[in-house]
Amino acid sequence: MIEIAGVTKTYRMGSLEVHALKRVDLNIEAGEFVAIMGASGSGKSTLMNIIGCLDVPSSGSYALDGIDVANLSDDQLALIRNRKIGFVFQSFNLIPRSSALHNVEMPLIYAGDTENRRERALAALQAVGLSDRAQHQPSELSGGQQQRVAVARALVTEPAIMLADEPTGNLDSESSLEIIELISALNRAGRTIVLITHEDEIARFARRVVRLRDGVIVSDGPQRAPVEARV
């Protein structure tokens, strides 16, 4: 599903070159639940941006679902993000002043996909247990509920992978547990999930853990005893 080979990302800060990623190789198969861990500055955000097609590698190759995305234009990347990737962010990132339903519809709107748009968005909201909050605006929802809407938005296009960047970072422990269990349940239903986190508590739910330090993968292996979600 994800084939990253020899990916390097170099930023230029004035005269200084910063190597955020150094020749990283990573393969993720369909149906996996991978946690990418690392301290701040380890390069995990850069790796997430590349996996999420928000950024392109300086060198190396990256194929997503069989498509080489390393050399695509901005608009082509937008199309890939729309069709192949569902994002869940730390700060929820819902569009303010738009109902939960409209937020979930948004990726379908940009896809130009009008067929049963409303029904599909409602089904996604139902899948995260929020069908009764469809007409609420983000400001009328709790943090946990907002993140559920974000998960529904990530699901609605049936993407190849779901990319969750610190999805529980802004939530209290109870809501955190709800969200990670929801994500875990989605994985058991067959969804490929890449989870970026620095919390061991959260990473325990993943089946495979990749650790980054200074732009290099230092460990990559199955979780010895993944926590099974209660639901």
Partner: protein, 417 residues
């Protein structure tokens, strides 16, 4: 992404900042309103001047006497010559010589200090022939115009305008009829009163007194001979004015035995010439007023640009989110362009309403400064143009902010606090 969705997003964005959107719309509204109103004022002035000139009669050509430049290059004053004669008038009115001339009348002017009992008044007195009323487009409310036989017999009769009646007879045309008034101490009987034309600006068309030209020569302009100060020619239709002018010129050159048209001792001027020279003045006025208003419109456009730049900065994060979930450059560009065009379009519509309303409200103020400009005339073309320009301004001043939004890097936009 379809337009309905883009419009929905734009409206919800504008709705979130109602005061700000309202003030921006106000800027465009004032600009468009000013364009519509001021162009209407200019058009009104133009219509007023045109109708005044046309009230003098239709399809007219004026012939004035002039002297060829004397030896030494000294030209005499305009109208100083006495070169026009009744023979000229008769020949010009001859259908066989000039098929495109409907009628020709001589005008001899005399100062008109007139009295009736203890009342005094001053009105220009014109001596002319029986065709005067038809050519100059006057009709009579009471009595009748003088006849050819009255012209031949130098009858002491006069036909006056409403202003003269107002000042000598207290306004009643009926009571003026058959009364005797004295013009320069010469008695004349009032045999008719013209229907008021009611126009102003180019001289009062109702402050007139017309007498047979022969009577003018005999009793009023004594000592100056059979002076004709101008001949007024009426062409058969608007399309034959040029032909009629040519025929008149030819007849007068032949009559006066002048072979070189450059040496002509008369000048012709058609109503079209007068209209076009006044038309240039009013057009300049309209352009001037319009450009002042256009400046207001541009200022409004800069207001839109300013507010759109603020909006783009404020919504950087939202732009990042939209890009992350698949919005392309054009989607973002379109969203902000529609937003700015919506602002300017609404401002444009309100401005048209205000400008149109203002054009009705302005005359009701009865300001003396404005009375000479006539009633503003809103032209549909200026309304459509103003609306088009306002939307265009939204597009033009929206492009830079929208482009800035569309070019945002999604990673940095998402990180923006």
């Amino acid at each position: 992404m379809n337009l309905v969705e883009a419009l929905r997003i734009a409206i919800s964005g504008l709705n979130a900042n109602r005061l700000r959107s309202g003030l921006t719309v106000l800027g465009i509204m004032i600009g468009v309103g000013a364009v519509v109103l001021l162009v209407a004022v200019g058009n009104g002035a133009s219509v007023q001047v045109t109708s005044q000139i046309e009230s003098l009669g239709s399809n007219l050509i004026y012939v004035y006497p002039s002297s060829p430049t004397a030896a030494g290059g000294v030209a005499q004053g305009f109208g100083a010559g006495q070169t026009l004669t009744m023979t000229d008038v008769q020949n010009l009115g001859d259908q066989t010589q000039a098929p495109d001339i409907a009628a020709a009348i001589p005008i001899a002017t005399a100062p008109g200090r007139m009295t009736h009992g203890s009342q005094n008044w001053f009105a220009p007195v014109s001596g002319s022939t029986q065709d005067f009323a038809a050519v100059r487009n006057y009709s009579l409310q009471v009595g009748q115009f003088f006849t050819q036989s009255q012209v031949n017999s130098s009858a002491r009769v006069v036909v006056v305008g409403q202003t003269v009646v107002d000042n000598l007879f207290g306004g009643s045309a009926q009571s003026a009829l058959n009364q005797t008034i004295e013009i320069q101490r010469q008695p004349f009987t009032v045999i008719g009163v013209f229907v008021a034309k009611g126009s102003q600006g180019l001289g009062n068309q109702d402050n007139v007194a017309v007498i047979p030209i022969t009577a003018a020569w005999n009793y009023l302009t004594g000592g100056r001979g059979k002076n004709i100060s101008q001949i007024v020619i009426q062409a058969t239709s608007a399309s034959t004015i040029t032909l009629a002018t040519q025929q008149a010129t030819q007849i007068l050159l032949t009559d006066h035995k002048i072979s070189d048209p450059a040496q002509a001792d008369f000048t012709t001027q058609s109503q079209q010439d007068i209209l076009s020279s006044y038309g240039q003045i009013t057009q300049t006025l309209t352009v001037l007023l319009g450009s002042v208003a256009a400046i207001a419109l541009v200022v409004g456009g800069i207001g839109i640009m300013n507010i759109m730049l603020v909006t783009v900065t404020e919504r950087t994060r939202e732009i990042g989110i939209r890009k992350a979930i698949g919005a392309r450059r054009t989607d973002i560009l379109l969203q902000f362009l529609i937003e700015s065009m919506f602002l300017s379009g609404v401002g444009g519509i309100l401005g048209i309403v205000v400008g149109w309303g203002g054009s009705f409200w302005l005359p009701s103020l009865k300001l003396s400064v404005l009375s000479s400009l006539g009633t503003p005339v809103v032209s549909i073309a200026s309304v459509l143009l103003a609306f088009g320009v306002s939307v265009g301004i939204g597009l033009f001043f929206g492009i830079y902010p929208a482009n800035r939004a569309a070019a945002l890097n999604p990673i940095e936009a998402l990180r923006y606090e």
